[in-house]
Amino acid sequence: MLRTNLTHVLSNQEHAELLQENENVMICCGRMGPMCIPVYEVMEELEGEYTNVKFADMEFDSPDAKVIRNLPECRGFAGLPFVVYYKNGQVVKATSSIQSRDQITEILDQHFGNNHK
């Protein structure tokens, strides 16, 4: 399990449930590595601000993470972490490699509305 304070998605089923139960979801699929940790840290900070978004992580090397690794939106990705944004269960955006807080909030505001605190 990843050592973050985010909700951990551990299986295919948990992934499906998360998308079903939440309108706006951001999942960071990575390892405890240099490019991933800063993204988890930003997500942990944003949890309190973007109460309209569910923030979660998933271990890149777990077999069930193919639900993210094999997404068509992630084709061509070659940098950890893979971050996927879902609205009503549909992928609205995916990014590869480290992203700054500004880059992340721009995506959240664009796709999920900036009605955060």
């Binding site: 240099p34 490019m35 840290e41 084709r75 990705f77 070659a78 940098g79 950890l80 490699s97």
Partner: protein
């Protein structure tokens, strides 16, 4: 919210966190403002094996320990912020973050470190994470049995090129000069590796591809000849640049944009000190950043104490 502190530290890497530990432990009220993730370059380091007293630790853990230690002494840390206003002259320093909150202090320590140097040519932003990487340990396994390029000629470039041969079928080192800056044993190890070959006196002038990187255009600096090479990945290790752009025109910088300091790590502005990789120095390591953080903290707190005494006697 109390927005006044004795000292504000800009940057929460090894230098800034050390300053935070020393200052807060001495009951000097301290705020650390950090633009990215706390820990700075330590977070980018998978394993640190040369920090005295700790045989082996991940950079992330060392950073987390330093952060917790500073917070336990009462240091306030704000991460992932953006400094949008800066007034360093005068006895009261003012720093605004996110165009919203303004903080004041008697002294400031600049510990903004450095960031990886980019090649700075077309396509680099587009293919970041889609073939272009700055971290071999993070992304090496995406290039298993593929052909890649490593850009650079220093220790990191040659060391990482050798480590990437674990995954890649072929590694081409592209370097702008006809000789390497790396230590001899790194060069020898790379030269003796059958998977590594060299394109010297050359630089990448464009990254090209579709949904991921497919090829690069390379210019030979001696002949000006331009060629194309098909590759799946490019790893860039061409050094670091100091994060000092914000201070240009305020704090004196040298020709490499490093902050000029005296032996107490004071800058040209009274009450403004600097520490770590952003200052003029030869060896950039966690140990030297930690040492700088200590010196800057002690110098800055002495400055603040004297200032407070003056204010009382006036």
């Amino acid at each position: 919210m109390n927005n006044h502190y004795d000292i504000i530290v800009i940057g929460g890497g090894a230098a800034g966190l050390t300053a935070g530990i020393y200052l807060s432990r001495a009951k000097v009220s301290t705020l650390i403002l950090n633009e990215g993730a706390v820990g700075g370059q330590m977070v980018l380091t998978h394993e640190i094996a040369n920090y005295p007293g700790i045989e082996n630790i991940s950079g992330y853990e060392l950073a987390r320990n330093m952060k917790t230690q500073a917070q336990k002494f009462g240091c306030v840390i704000k991460s992932n912020i953006k400094i949008t206003g800066l007034k360093l002259n005068g006895e009261l320093k003012e720093i605004t973050i996110n165009n919203k909150d303004t903080f004041t202090s008697h002294a400031v320590i600049v510990a903004t470190g450095g960031k990886p140097r980019a090649v700075g040519v077309p396509g680099e932003e587009i293919f970041k994470g889609k073939g272009i990487s700055y971290c071999a340990t993070c992304d090496g396994d995406f290039f298993t049995d593929k052909e890649i390029i490593v850009v650079g000629g220093g220790n990191s470039a040659l060391e990482e090129a050798v480590s990437l041969t674990k995954y890649a079928s072929k590694v081409t080192i592209v370097h702008q000069f006809d000789h390497f800056q790396a230590l001899e044993h790194y060069v020898a190890e790379a030269k003796s590796n059958p998977k590594i070959n060299f394109v010297m006196e050359s630089k990448i002038i464009e990254f090209m591809g579709d949904e991921s990187l497919r090829k690069v255009r390379i210019e030979n600096r001696a002949t000006n000849e331009i060629s194309e090479m098909n590759v799946n990945g490019v790893f860039i290790f061409i050094g670091y640049v100091p994060n000092t752009a914000k201070f240009e025109g305020m704090i004196d910088l040298n020709e490499y944009k490093e902050i000029i300091v005296d032996k107490n790590l004071a800058t040209n502005i009274p009450g403004v000190y600097a520490a770590g990789d952003s200052i003029v120095k030869r060896y950039r390591q966690v140990t030297t950043a930690v040492a700088d953080g200590t010196i800057a903290a002690l110098s800055a707190s002495e400055y603040v104490n004297n200032l407070k005494k003056e204010l009382v006697t006036v």
